[in-house]
């Protein structure tokens, strides 16, 4: 156990986890997930919001088992390695708002940092603009961090508090088993299911769940984080987490080549638009929000799995943000940005900057 514990904290540990995701994300796409969307935490939480009926965009409704797996896999790893630490109280309302705007920004680009990397690995040139925006947003976040930005300390809490998000995810899984997809039906029991569009495309439930569990387990051990990768590089010149995302891109690229999913270009890419400025701008907002909240959307799920109630609030903020995105016409589509997407990016940026400037702790 000790050796395994140390291995994932090493350079080869993080590289192996990035590689694991790099193999299985494209394979999930091969098995049915949408194009260049083997895994996208933002898109999949958005699909969950749709499955629950929090928004009624008919093309993006599916209870994604990968997300459930991420949280529960992390929970299992945290328990096995005695790292489950229930904690809360570090500015939860701020984390909720950051989560909501992170989602709104990500849906203007059409992907979280994970999908930005996977889009690049699938040949989608628009992914470069998303990544550039992400790095720019994270860079702004590091300026706030250097200036003393802090969300404050967490407090230790009851075990049950740390269990709440994992239990919600378990509840989602039970709902999915009780209300299984019925061919040709948009609703089964309480859940909505897409008949067309990205929400209708998915790998078999059990495969999605098992791969989600495995990634959740490994990511908890290795602290895999796509935001932290760039943040640590900018802030500390430290490339540890960065190695993980490099491995992800390279291995996903090779896997895509092998299974015939590499299609280079900017036009007609799956679930993507070509409005460069807003691909960039959306991810500036998302990157800044992730940096201010201390983790990419995947990392927030893994933290929630190991008992971090504040990360759980961020996740719920993202799900609610997705509902706003689609209800208010903020989310993009392959045709381009939504009717109010540009306004949302500007408001999101202002909100993040407001939070960054006002939540500074000066050393005594």
């Amino acid at each position: 156990m000790g050796i395994l514990k140390n291995f994932f904290a090493t350079r080869w540990g993080i590289i192996s986890v990035g590689s694991f995701i790099g193999v299985f994300a494209p394979l999930l796409q091969k098995l049915g997930n949408p194009g260049n969307m083997g895994i996208c935490v933002a898109c999949f939480e958005r699909d969950i919001a749709g499955a629950l009926g929090l928004h009624r965009a008919a093309v993006v409704q599916y209870m994604r088992p990968e997300i459930i797996g991420f949280v529960l896999g992390s929970l299992i790893a945290a328990y096995i390695f005695k790292e489950f630490r229930p904690r809360v109280g570090s500015a939860p309302i701020v984390r909720f708002v950051l989560g909501a705007f992170a989602m709104i920004g990500a849906l203007v680009f059409l992907g979280c940092p994970w999908r930005a990397l996977l889009r690049l690995a699938g040949g989608d040139g628009n992914g470069i603009l998303g990544l550039a925006g992400l790095i720019c947003g994270i860079w702004i976040g590091t300026l706030f961090l250097k200036g003393g930005y802090s969300l404050g300390r967490t407090e230790k809490t009851h075990t049950s508090v740390g269990w709440l998000l994992p239990l919600i995810m378990l509840g989602f899984l039970v709902l999915m088993l009780m209300s299984p997809q019925v061919k040709g039906q948009t609703k089964s029991g309480v859940l909505f299911y897409s008949l067309k569009g990205p929400g209708s495309m998915h790998a078999p439930l059990i495969i999605s769940l098992v791969i989600g569990l495995a990634i959740g387990f490994l990511a908890q051990r290795s602290r895999f984080c796509t935001m932290g990768a760039f943040r640590d590089l900018i802030l500390f010149r430290q490339a540890h987490l960065f190695m993980g995302i490099c491995a992800l891109v390279i291995v996903a690229f090779i896997t895509n080549l092998i299974v015939g999913q590499f299609h280079p270009g900017f036009l007609k890419q799956p679930v993507a638009h070509t409005m460069a400025i807003w691909n960039f701008g959306g991810m500036v907002v998302a990157g800044l929000a992730f940096a201010l909240a201390g983790g990419c959307p995947g990392r927030q799920l893994f933290l929630a799995g190991e008992g971090d109630g504040d990360a759980a609030v961020f996740v719920l903020g993202m799900i609610v943000g997705a509902a706003f995105s689609h209800n208010f016409g903020l989310a993009s589509s392959p045709k381009g940005v939504g009717p109010h997407g540009i306004a949302a990016v500007i408001i999101g940026l202002l909100v993040c900057i407001f939070i960054g400037f006002t939540m500074r702790k000066r050393a005594a």
């Binding site: 904290a9 390695f81 790292e83 630490r85 904690r87 570090s90 961090l145 250097k146 802090s150 969300l151 404050g152 300390r153 967490t154 407090e155 230790k156 602290r223 932290g228 943040r231 640590d232 802030l235 500390f236 430290q238 540890h240 201390g294 983790g295 933290l303 971090d308 504040d310 050393a363």
Partner: protein
């Protein structure tokens, strides 16, 4: 006599920022860093090592760790 950095309750990257601040302040000697998660323990140890400091001791303390780093 060592300086103490209490980073308990703070999440990534603050424990590292606080440790590096202290490292820049004292330049050498001994610093004890208190953290409460394994992620922070790893990150602080990694950052200290990259700055030429040695992780002398990691002790379990309460629900967290006391990391002792030194530089001659």
């Amino acid at each position: 006599m060592s300086n103490i950095v209490d980073a308990r309750g703070f999440s990534c990257p603050q424990p590292v920022l606080m440790t590096l601040d202290e490292i820049n302040k004292v330049n050498k000697g001994q610093i004890e860093v208190l953290v409460d998660t394994d992620t922070s323990r790893e990150n602080v140890s990694r950052a200290a090592t990259s700055k030429g400091w040695q992780v002398k001791d990691v002790k379990q303390e309460g629900d967290g760790y006391r990391i002792t780093i030194t530089k001659e």
